[in-house]
């Protein structure tokens, strides 16, 4: 057991830190557009966008350890994202690199890296959420095209995207429900495709319904073989790493929560002096540390070349609970003002307390994570 970095890893960390010191000196507000465009240009030059991807496709070829260091240092400084095509970088790109043809790689990967496009993910349907493999959106082969009809829902950022990775049922007669599913890459301005934004509980719109009415998709935009769509997407989602960057984000949130408790009063005293509140905060801190240490253990497995399996569900459950409970404690600390829209800090905590579903529901619900652990790790019968 050894938590020290090797000299090479240390050198890489120092390189990242020096870069951050230069671009993000303390007090610098990282949200003006000019800064953001410089930032994106500079991190792209460093090849830190798509850092885990092979250098042949334009990625950075970073080792697993380097990826962790990079993410961790970035998160510690609350640096802007590395690249702007979020879903392209997170799973569409990895899926194309693994299953795409040479032509597809050349056509799609550079734009994802350069942030020239936005991708969205058309998996969920009104009748198929947790049970994604029951999806009904239909694709019928017509010459060198697929003709697609059906509906998608909860499609995040569909209204700002140029492309969508889409799961369709190409063979309704296939034996298992995971068979007969195909993955297509679809242009959002295709005739017959309409997007209708959905307003969420925090009042904003980040996801949408997508209607497909005889949308024609050329076969060279099929990713992987026909009927292999399930494999293509499952393996792409497995590219999610060991959650060490999420830990840094939660720690920053915890710092803010402590400051909020320090600045607020409860029973005429600083809320931070209240035993109940102190213990709840310490409990969060402990859960976050557990996530970090779990992540380190998973990382050690990955470095030895062992598969992660269902392990990532452990930290997903922790994260879900933390996102909900931390936001909730913040409002509780604020007392009656906590129930007001923008009385404190411009409503920052209110927005936080209303946005947990993005993490808790968006990435597979806690019950589904519990099923995964119970069935795949503990070997209990499927329900």
């Amino acid at each position: 057991m050894d938590f020290h970095l090797t000299p090479d890893e240390q050198a890489f960390r120092d390189e990242v830190r020096a870069f951050l010191d230069e671009l993000l000196p303390p007090g610098r507000h990282p949200s003006d557009p000019e800064f953001l465009s410089t930032w994106q240009r500079r991190v792209r030059e460093k090849r830190w966008v798509g850092f885990s991807w092979p250098r042949e496709v334009g990625g950075g070829g970073g080792s697993i350890m380097q990826q962790v260091i990079l993410k961790e240092e970035m998160a510690k400084r609350r640096a802007p994202a590395l690249g702007t095509c979020f879903m392209g970088l997170a799973w569409v790109g990895p899926a194309i690199i693994e299953y795409g043809t040479e032509a597809q790689k050349q056509r799609f990967i550079p734009d994802i890296l350069d942030g020239k496009v936005q991708w969205c993910t058309g998996y969920s349907e009104p009748g198929s959420g947790s049970d994604l493999a029951s999806l009904q959106c239909r694709a019928v082969r017509d010459g060198d095209h697929y003709v697609v009809s059906g509906q998608k829902i909860w499609t995040s950022i569909a209204m700002w995207s140029q492309w969508m990775i889409l799961l369709v049922r190409s063979d309704p007669a296939a034996q298992g429900k995971h068979d007969g599913i195909t993955c297509l890459l679809v242009e959002m301005d295709s005739p017959g495709l309409t997007v209708r934004p959905i307003r969420n509980m925090s009042g904003t719109s980040i996801f949408a319904e997508v209607f497909l009415d005889d949308v024609r998709v050329p076969i060279e935009q099929r990713l992987g073989a026909e009927g292999e769509g399930w494999k293509v997407t499952v393996s792409a989602l497995a590219h999610e790493r060991s959650s060490i960057a999420e830990v840094e984000g939660l720690l920053r949130k915890l710092d803010e929560l402590v400051e909020l408790a320090r600045a607020s009063t409860k029973n005429g005293r600083p809320a931070l002096d209240d035993d109940g509140i102190r213990r709840r905060i310490a409990r969060f801190e402990t859960r976050i540390a557990a996530m970090r240490m779990n992540g380190m253990r998973f990382l050690t497995k990955q470095l030895k070349g062992e598969p992660l399996g269902a392990d990532t569900s452990i930290n997903k459950l922790h994260r879900a609970a933390l996102e909900i409970e931390m936001g909730d404690l913040a409002l509780e600390i604020q007392g009656s003002d906590g129930a007001l829209e923008k009385e404190i800090d411009g409503g920052r905590w209110q927005r936080f307390a209303l946005s947990w579903p993005e993490v808790v529901i968006g990435g597979g619900t806690p019950n589904i994570q519990r099923n995964i652990i119970a069935e795949r790790v503990l070997g209990l019968p499927k329900d």
Partner: protein, 377 residues
Amino acid sequence: MNFGFTDEQELLRQEVRKVLDAQAPMAEVRRLAETPEGFSRELWKQMGELGWLGLTIPEAHGGAGLGWVDLVVLLEEAGRSLLPSPLIATTLAAATIADAGSALQQARWLPRLADGTAIGSVAVLEAGDRLDPAGIQMRGAPVGDGWQLGGEKRAVLDGAAADLLVVAFRTGDGAEDIALALVERGAAGLRIESTPSLDATQRVARVHFDAVAVLPDAVLGTPGRAAPVLARLLDRGAVAVTAEAVGAAEQAVRLTVEYAKQRVQFGSPIGRFQGVKHPLAEMYVDVESFRSLLYYAAWCLDEGDAETTRAVSMAKAYASEAFSRIGIDGVQLHGGVGYTWEYDIQLYLKRSKWVRPTFGDADFHYDRIARIRTEAA
């Protein structure tokens, strides 16, 4: 970065498991729990020969000179078996002597603690049940160059079997005026009273001091300056108990999972029902999580890392809370048989009741974590 065990550590785990499966299967553990002494002297001797008792004792004194990460491997397996033995007590006494004892004290005691010819323990806790230095109220009365001790120590692990006690007492009114001394079994004025535990695999005693003499050569380190030594002792204690808790809690989950796979109701193994499988998944999440925290805490102890206290508190807080719930849910998910003497799951529930307060419960440790965080800011 490597958060895994070495090949040697994996071998140690296999060896321990093999020996305990053969020598201390559950039937034997249950038998021992009913004997007056509560553990097997024969197995204890064997543990000494195998080098388990001296694992963290320096090689110069007959130990293996290994660290707490290695010890964790041993204790996890001991916890899995609910092994009744003065292993933690003796290890803590030895570690404290190695930490603060003179060359003479070390040469006299460590080899005997390493081979098991002497059993050690630590006497810290008093009636107020407080683990901080202020909780040490037993006042040493100066007599000549030494001291005289009067009062009572509680929850002394394996006190009845101990040949040697490391005793914490107070030398002055200052919060940190703490001393540690070695008191031998049979010392005049020392009376040891067994206090039966809920968990019969775990023996504790109340130790009465009636003008017990402590000569200068029995004091560990500088009298009145031992608060940091005591703090390290308590951290080690919390790590040791958490390590056994990982093994025990994991086994409680395993027993319950096995039961849920074979018990059929409503025409289906009960493990298919989410009201059963989801709590089991949560138990697994908890065990894996406090296991991770424990490994980090043990590593910090070995490195003398500045994070040690915080890391230890996180592991013990999480373990205290989670193991208690695992014990209760484990029994509940067994239904009626969970309530029987015959089924083993109840033994794990009882172990969780011992683990929870020992070396600090969740609130004690959460308070420490909160203090570290708010004082640092």
